[in-house]
């Protein structure tokens, strides 16, 4: 029964281990729960209880198998697995406000923590004293840091914050690494230097999420004024901004050098393309609601549904998208940032969905067909497969349906002959385990 309860809790943040057999999530409280995949189900294997405030960020280092968590209690802990138990090590961040975000660097020798104290704490391990030391990046951040992303060279750090700006800092720690070579973002990189600053200027919104591409040359961010922006460091510093007609996006991720996936308050991941000239275009939503199958619900079922939801009228308030509430985080599930085959989203509805799509080469007539594959794992203990036709298991049926549906919205008209342009062609197969339907 307790298992059910936290299922309805929002998943604040999540992190995968290297082979994706385990996921660490925080169900909107002071704990981190680690789930182990067993067959088709997820079984809770560990509970990490050390924080005194809500967990705001989790990151799992794939190679060294360490988890770093940060929370509203102004602390961060680095967890290591010893004899089957996760043991925490406190990191003194020296911040006087909550931590908001944490990310391991690519080489996993340091991690960066964003905080409400208007600074970024970059932490590295000092083996002489056997503890983690933090260094602060303060200027010129003027409000809460919401999101961080490391450049592949392990030195540059992009930060999105509530002062409406996205900045690229240098987080070069001479104690743990060699001096980095020059990059398109700059060549002199003392610790804390601002190499680039974008945004602000009287407009814009809080920068919710930032992401470097796999080469590190491109930087994308999403902002609260419903925009997505990409800047290419190699092509000068004019960012290309796309004003979307959707609700603000909360998380953005590069899934190839030219494609960006973002998701947010519209509960649906969206695909954007960034072409070689650096301009950004919207490709499509990746969660296409299937055509409503109007089935004749028996009177018995109608009243049962009303009873279950304690409503007085017979109305279906479920969203058409897979996620029933905003998506707060998108992460790579299979592949890497240059070629992602599957990505994962978690949100406020407590659900974790894995999306997969195929990237194919150019179509001759340049239309992108986007279909998605979503599997919602809502962690229900009662794993009853429903027999009602609303179960989206019918493979061919939905595929054809979605095929006709997607012809219209995505006209990219690209006329591209160059084969290096990849077009996303996901294919549909959604399987939804609808909880609690009892005969």
């Amino acid at each position: 029964m307790s298992l059910h309860q936290f299922l309805l809790e929002p998943i604040t943040c999540h992190a995968w281990n290297r082979d994706r057999t385990q996921i660490a999530i925080s169900p909107n409280n002071h704990e981190v729960h680690i789930y182990q995949k067993s067959g088709n189900q997820w079984v809770k294997s560990h509970e990490l209880k050390e924080h005194n405030g809500h967990i705001t960020g989790i990151d799992w280092a794939p190679k060294s198998d360490r988890i770093v968590t940060c929370g509203a209690d102004r602390n961060a802990y680095v967890w290591s697995l010893k004899d089957g138990v996760w043991k925490p090590t406190l990191v003194i961040l020296r911040i006087n406000r909550a931590a908001t975000f944490v990310k391991w660097s690519p080489l996993e020798n340091k991690f960066a923590v964003g905080s409400g104290a208007r600074l970024i704490s970059v932490c590295y391990f000092e083996s002489d004293n056997d503890w983690w030391v933090s260094k602060h990046i303060k200027k010129p951040i003027r409000s809460t840091v919401l999101s961080l992303d490391w450049h592949p060279n392990n030195v540059l750090l992009a930060a999105g914050s509530c002062d409406f700006k996205c900045r690229v800092f240098s987080a070069y720690i001479k104690e743990v690494e060699e001096k980095p070579g020059p990059t398109p973002w700059g060549s002199k990189m003392p610790f804390g230097a601002v190499l680039a600053e974008f945004g602000g200027a009287g407009g814009g919104g809080w920068v919710h999420s930032v992401s470097f591409s796999s080469s590190g040359n491109r930087l994308a961010w999403v902002s609260h004024d419903s925009t997505v922006t990409v800047v290419d460091g190699t092509k000068g510093s004019t960012p290309s901004q796309l004003k979307t007609e959707f609700l603000p996006l909360l998380s953005v991720l590069f899934i190839s050098e030219n494609s960006v996936v973002a998701a947010g308050h519209d509960c649906c991941p969206m695909l954007f393309r960034c072409d070689d000239g650096g301009s950004l275009t919207f490709v499509s939503k990746l969660d296409l609601p299937k055509a409503s199958i109007t089935r004749n619900i028996s009177a018995m079922e109608r009243f049962r549904n009303m009873d279950k939801r304690a409503t007085t009228e017979d109305r279906n308030t479920a969203l058409e998208t897979l996620h029933q509430n905003s998506i707060t985080q998108v992460s790579i599930y299979e592949g890497d940032q240059s070629d992602c085959r599957k990505f994962c989203t978690t949100g406020i509805d407590g659900a974790m969905t894995i999306w997969d799509f195929k990237v194919t080469h150019t179509h001759t007539h340049g239309e992108t067909h986007t279909h998605t594959h979503g599997e919602t794992h809502t962690h229900t203990h009662t794993h009853t497969e429903t027999e009602t036709p609303t179960d989206r298991d019918t493979h061919t049926h939905t595929e054809r349906q979605r095929h006709t549906q997607t012809e219209t919205p995505t006209h990219t008209d690209t006329h591209t002959e160059t084969p290096k342009h990849k077009h996303i062609q996901p294919h549909t197969h959604t399987q939804r385990h609808i909880p609690g339907q009892v005969h």
Partner: protein, 150 residues
């Protein structure tokens, strides 16, 4: 049950006023912005060339200026143009605008909602509906998040 009869004045106090870390927005020199050209817009309305009038009134939006008069005049002018349109032409007019134009139109519409006059709300609502279908909820979000607006 119980009603709070005490003073709620404390809610109007700005607690951040004397905070030395208070966020001050970038100063943008907007003194040069004068708003759309009234004479030009008026003449276009008189000629009946409403599409052009709409384009003209969307030029030079007084976004950065601190002069409230300029903003009020621009808003009044915009209202005049919007009311001059026939209901059936509104959709075509909105289609003729680009993305930034739709965003700017949305800003003016919400500004107009703030100070309703005789028939303004009805016209503005019609325009709002058409602008919403063109710009989506994103355009409204941009009205809400814009710190410097018309």
């Amino acid at each position: 049950m119980s009603k709070n009869n005490d003073s709620n004045q404390f809610r109007k106090v700005d607690v951040d006023e004397y905070d030395e870390n208070k966020f001050v927005d970038d100063e943008d020199n907007g003194e040069s912005q004068v708003g759309p050209d009234e004479a030009e817009v008026d003449s276009l309305i008189r000629q009946g060339n409403l599409m052009e009038a709409l384009q003209a009134v969307l030029k030079n939006p007084p976004i950065n200026t601190k002069n409230q008069n300029v903003k009020d005049r621009a808003e009044a002018l915009m209202l005049k143009v919007l009311s001059a349109f026939k209901s059936s032409d509104i959709e075509k007019a909105v289609q003729s605008l680009d993305k930034n134009g739709v965003d700017l139109l949305m800003k003016y519409i919400y500004k107009g909602f703030e100070k309703p006059s005789e028939n303004s709300s009805a016209t503005l609502l019609q325009w709002h509906e058409k602008a919403l279908s063109a710009g989506g909820v994103g355009s409204i979000v941009r009205v809400l998040t814009a710190r410097k607006t018309v």
